[in-house]
Amino acid sequence: MYTLLFLLIFLCVMAVLQDRPARIRLPLWTATLALSVLAFLPHVLDHTFHIAL
């Protein structure tokens, strides 16, 4: 899961380097940020609410 997130971040960096238009860059950036936050939620549930997924 984390490898896939790093792959998405790598694609975000490539979108910057290749000067991709906003219609490609912004959805990619936003999806990556949202998925990174989602990846954090299991830790919150586990350590704060003791709900292990």
């Binding site: 899961m1 984390y2 490898t3 997130l5 790093f6 792959l7 971040i9 790598f10 975000c12 960096v13 490539m14 910057v16 380097l17 000067d19 860059r25 950036w29 990556t32 940020l33 990174s36 936050v37 990846a39 954090f40 830790h43 919150v44 350590h47 704060t48």
Partner: protein, 220 residues
């Protein structure tokens, strides 16, 4: 209201770089700060690499999440730098880039703060080694908050650095853009590789990794 009252305040000597020969200091400083921001965040990742590859301390899943948010926060200023190579940066691009950096840094600080709180009750020794008495996730929290403050300052000082055309008049800034973006590329690629080695071909990874799963999977 007349249109002249809507014109944003300009710093003194705000004629274009072609007219003045070189952009005034505030305009160059604004762009140099974007470079310092990206390189600074990559520097924190370099420190994490020292612990991982120099001291053989494996990063936990939350450590990896913090690395992600460092890279994500650097994306905003990197975008500003990339745009500056093709001409003047618009105020919209400047504000969008720094706004993104603030959001990503604050989300990263949330992850760091959660990890600090996980280990705050004595006699918990904390995760992995410490640097000057503080664990890496504590340093990450400090770095994220400093990054959010810096990016926020860059936002509210926008009128001070406008017009954003300093790179057009500064060969040094254009050269630095290539170097800074290359540094970010190297850290994005190396983090991807390091995570693949750590996690191997598994969806989950242990909370306290003890080796590189990739090599274990291959029977090495």
């Amino acid at each position: 209201m007349s249109s002249t009252t809507l014109t944003p305040a300009r710093p003194s000597g705000s004629a274009g770089p072609a007219a003045s020969g070189a952009a005034p200091l505030p305009r160059r400083l604004g762009m140099w700060f974007a470079h310092a921001y990206v390189v600074g965040l990559c520097g924190t990742l370099a420190g994490a690499y020292f612990f991982q590859f120099g001291l053989w301390e494996y990063p936990c899943p939350m450590c990896l999440l913090q690395r992600m948010f460092f890279l994500l926060s650097a994306l905003g200023p990197a975008w500003i730098i990339a745009r500056s190579r093709t001409g003047a940066v618009t105020s919209r691009e400047w504000a969008g880039g720094w706004g993104w950096a603030v959001v990503a840094a604050l989300l990263g600080s949330t992850v760091s703060a959660a990890q600090v709180l996980m280990h705050i009750v004595p006699p918990d020794p904390g995760y992995a080694g410490a640097l000057f008495g503080l664990h890496l996730y504590t340093w990450a929290l400090i770095a994220f908050l400093a990054a959010a403050l810096g990016a926020g300052a860059a936002l509210f000082l926008t009128s001070w650095v406008e017009p954003l055309d300093a790179p057009a008049a500064s060969p040094a800034l254009r050269r630095a853009a290539t170097v800074t973006l290359a540094v970010l590329f190297v850290f994005a690629a190396s983090n991807l590789l390091a995570c693949l080695l750590l996690q191997g071909f598994h969806w989950q990874m242990p909370g306290d990794p003890t080796g590189y799963q990739f090599f274990t999977d291959l029977g090495l």
